[in-house]
């Protein structure tokens, strides 16, 4: 499991958790295949190239948040302000466009807004290390959403469909492959390399396993946290761009609940909220499992409440499974 540096920083025995994770990811692959078999049985149109890409487009714009969220959870942190960051970035983009700014510049404003939002989170957490990230990002979640609501109120800022190339970001495709899918694959590969093939990635695991030890080993823990939170903000802005391209207009109440969807995808992917455990590919498979499951259930018109229960159940299983140890259970009857 050692990275390029040849060292293994994980405190658990490498062999045992490597094995567990290997099997965990294969379980995910099996679930993924099952979901696809189910979908194919439901809809005859599903197993076609356009059908599959149509299915991915219906959830992929949120998946951009999952990439940095994996890093945050590996560090043992959490960020629940991402949904609000998406809304605020999208609102600033649409407002600046409607104020006469060219679309390209508006996109830069969007990226900048997201990055600044993430940087504020990161700064607060890095400066005041005793503050719990859950509370800090809960506060900024409210603040960012509040600013978006002050700016737009109940109204929508629309007209983005007038810029054809902007709409095409979501609706356009290269052959059968949507542009968004290509962007996602590139970013996911880069993120995977960052987490598993660089020293930076090893630091993330080190911080997640034991922050104090990491600090004493000479890792600039707070700087790395600040960088990761800032990066999360940028990815939120990317989600905001695709979401706005999809709808052609924005309002302050978009992207509500995205934080929980992103966190559930990461957790289903086998990355522990306690930090230091799990591998990035698991999160990617989990994105597609939840996304395709929702799409399939939607195809047979399962009511959205039932859908939430099914996905919640899947999540409970996901967090329960790795903890399940029959030997312990049998030994200590008090657990039963």
């Amino acid at each position: 499991m050692a990275g390029k540096s040849g060292r293994s920083i994980a405190i658990t025995k490498p062999r045992s958790w490597k094995q567990t994770l290997f099997t965990w990811e294969s379980i995910l692959v099996i679930i993924f295949i099952l979901v696809n078999i189910m979908n194919a049985c439901i809809s005859p149109k599903y197993l076609s190239v356009p059908g599959l890409f149509n299915a991915t487009s219906s959830f992929l714009e949120k998946a951009f948040i999952v990439l940095p969220m994996a890093c945050i959870l590996i560090m043992g942190d959490i960020d629940i302000s991402v949904g609000s960051t998406v809304a605020l970035s999208a609102v600033f983009m649409a407002m600046s466009y409607n104020a006469g700014v060219p679309m390209g510049v508006a996109i830069l404003i969007c990226l900048l807004t997201g990055t600044v939002c993430g940087f504020i989170n990161g700064m607060i957490l890095a400066r005041f290390t005793e503050l719990p990230p859950m509370i800090v990002t809960l506060a900024t979640q409210i603040i960012y959403r509040g600013i978006a609501e002050i700016c737009l109120g109940d109204q929508a800022s629309g007209g983005l469909t007038k810029v054809a190339w902007f709409s095409n970001l979501y609706w356009g495709s290269l052959g059968p492959v949507p542009y968004m899918f290509i962007v996602f694959v590139i970013l996911a590969v880069l993120m995977g390399l960052l987490i598993h093939k660089t020293t930076f990635g090893r630091y993330l695991y080190a911080i997640g396993n034991n922050r104090v030890t990491a600090q004493y080993s000479g890792i600039a823990v707070q700087r790395i946290r600040c960088i990761v939170f800032t990066m999360t903000g940028t990815f939120c802005a990317i989600t905001a761009i695709f979401l706005a391209a999809r709808m052609g207009s924005t309002r302050s109440n978009i992207a509500v609940g995205y934080e929980m969807e992103a966190i559930s995808m990461v957790v289903l992917g086998g990355i522990s909220t306690a930090g230091g455990k799990g591998r990035f590919p698991g999160a990617i498979i989990a994105i597609f499992i939840i996304g395709f499951l929702r799409y399939g259930l939607g195809l047979i018109n399962v009511s959205s409440q039932v859908m939430l229960v099914i996905i919640g159940g899947l999540l409970v299983l996901a967090v329960m499974l790795p903890k399940l140890n029959f030997k312990e259970l049998l030994k200590n009857k008090k657990y039963i």
Partner: protein
């Protein structure tokens, strides 16, 4: 090692069972639905293999659910297959996902109660390109993304009806106020504008609109706003609340304080039953029947699919026992069908309606 292997195997089995369970369960419901539709079709002897879809604003909205009931009723009567989807939250994103799912299913028509006026356009245009007939009901989407809008009542009609009620209740003169929802709500503002336009008529000259208060469709805020109105304008004769939350809050305040100020507006009979009557806080109020909105939406969908209408101004069609309807121009540049005039609820008919919706 072995134990771990067994535990993993068991877990996989559990997940498989979960997935299998939900998929088979759904197939069952689908099968029964299809069977039911099949029976209906055979009894109606007017088989039509189209699928008619409806997307409401959000799950758990009683008003939307009544509309869905009406839609369902007509589809069952006509013996056609239908799909009714309620998004988990009142957001345009959730509706877009549902639109995509319906396109993938290849439905024939789609009726949407838009959560956003513009945001559904790209998705609905894609649906139209796929040959699906799109209409909106309850809350419209922009004219480019719909063929026709099923409007519960014309704005001007609502404005005039409410002004006449205020004139009648106030006795022809005096101060009155509006308790609205939010300052940005499209329908509220359209109705307030319509009321102001109606007020230009000289017969309302002795009525004085003193304030438009906003209760944000929150019960407590609406209560506070009502109390503030009573305090600031002791001579206030009538409060008009064209929102179901506001009217209920105001009715409670006026009744509890035994105020001489009376109330009218738009409210749900089931919520307002205790306050309606000549000796109570609200002599009478108005609303349209959401079940009729759903029924007409179903007839419009069927007519769009069989080609008898295309959504152009001047076309007429027959909506079963609801009679004939004509498509008219809407104020936003598109076209609409108006369900009918607002319906009056007073002490004579409230007991009959309070159990309906």
């Amino acid at each position: 090692m072995k134990k771990r292997g067994i535990s993993l195997f068991l877990c996989t089995a559990m997940v498989t069972a979960l997935l299998a369970g939900c998929s088979s369960g759904n197939q069952n419901t689908q099968a029964t639905a299809a069977a039911a539709a099949g029976n209906a079709a055979s009894t109606a002897a007017a088989g039509n293999d189209g699928v008619y879809a409806m997307i409401s604003k959000a799950a758990g909205n009683p008003y939307n659910e009544r509309q869905a009931m009406g839609f369902q009723e007509v589809c069952e009567k006509l013996g056609v297959k239908y799909v009714i989807k309620h998004p988990e939250s009142a957001s345009a994103e959730a509706q877009i996902t549902m639109v995509n799912e319906l396109v993938a299913q290849g439905v024939n028509s789609m009726a949407v109660a838009g959560n956003d006026y513009d945001a559904l356009q790209p998705a609905l245009s894609a649906a139209e390109r796929a040959g699906i007939k799109v209409c909106s009901f309850d809350s419209s989407v922009n004219p480019d993304s719909r063929m026709v809008f099923v409007n519960q009542a014309g704005n001007n009609e609502i404005g005039e009806t409410l002004m006449d009620a205020i004139l009648d209740i106030s006795g022809g003169e005096g101060q009155w106020a509006i308790l609205s929802a939010t300052s940005q709500a499209t329908n509220q503002n359209a109705w307030i504008e319509a009321m102001k336009k109606a007020m230009e008529d000289p017969k309302y000259a002795r009525l004085e609109l003193v304030e438009i208060a906003y209760g944000d469709d929150e019960y407590q805020k609406s209560v506070d706003q009502t109390q503030a109105l009573l305090q600031n304008y002791p001579e206030l004769k009538v409060i008009c609340a064209p929102t179901t939350v506001g009217i209920m809050a105001a009715a409670k305040v006026l009744q509890d304080e035994g105020s001489a100020c009376k109330l009218t507006g738009l409210g749900l009979p089931s919520e307002m039953a205790d306050y309606i009557g000549t000796d109570k806080s609200c002599p009478y109020m108005y609303l349209w029947n959401p079940i009729d909105v759903g029924r007409l939406t179903a007839y419009v969908s069927v007519a769009l699919v069989d080609g008898s209408i295309t959504g152009a101004v001047g076309e007429t069609f027959t909506a079963g026992d609801m009679g004939n309807y004509e498509i008219v121009a809407a104020s936003d540049g598109g076209t609409e069908v108006i369900v009918g005039p607002p319906f009056k609820f007073d002490s004579a008919n409230i007991d009959e309606w309070k159990s309906v919706y």
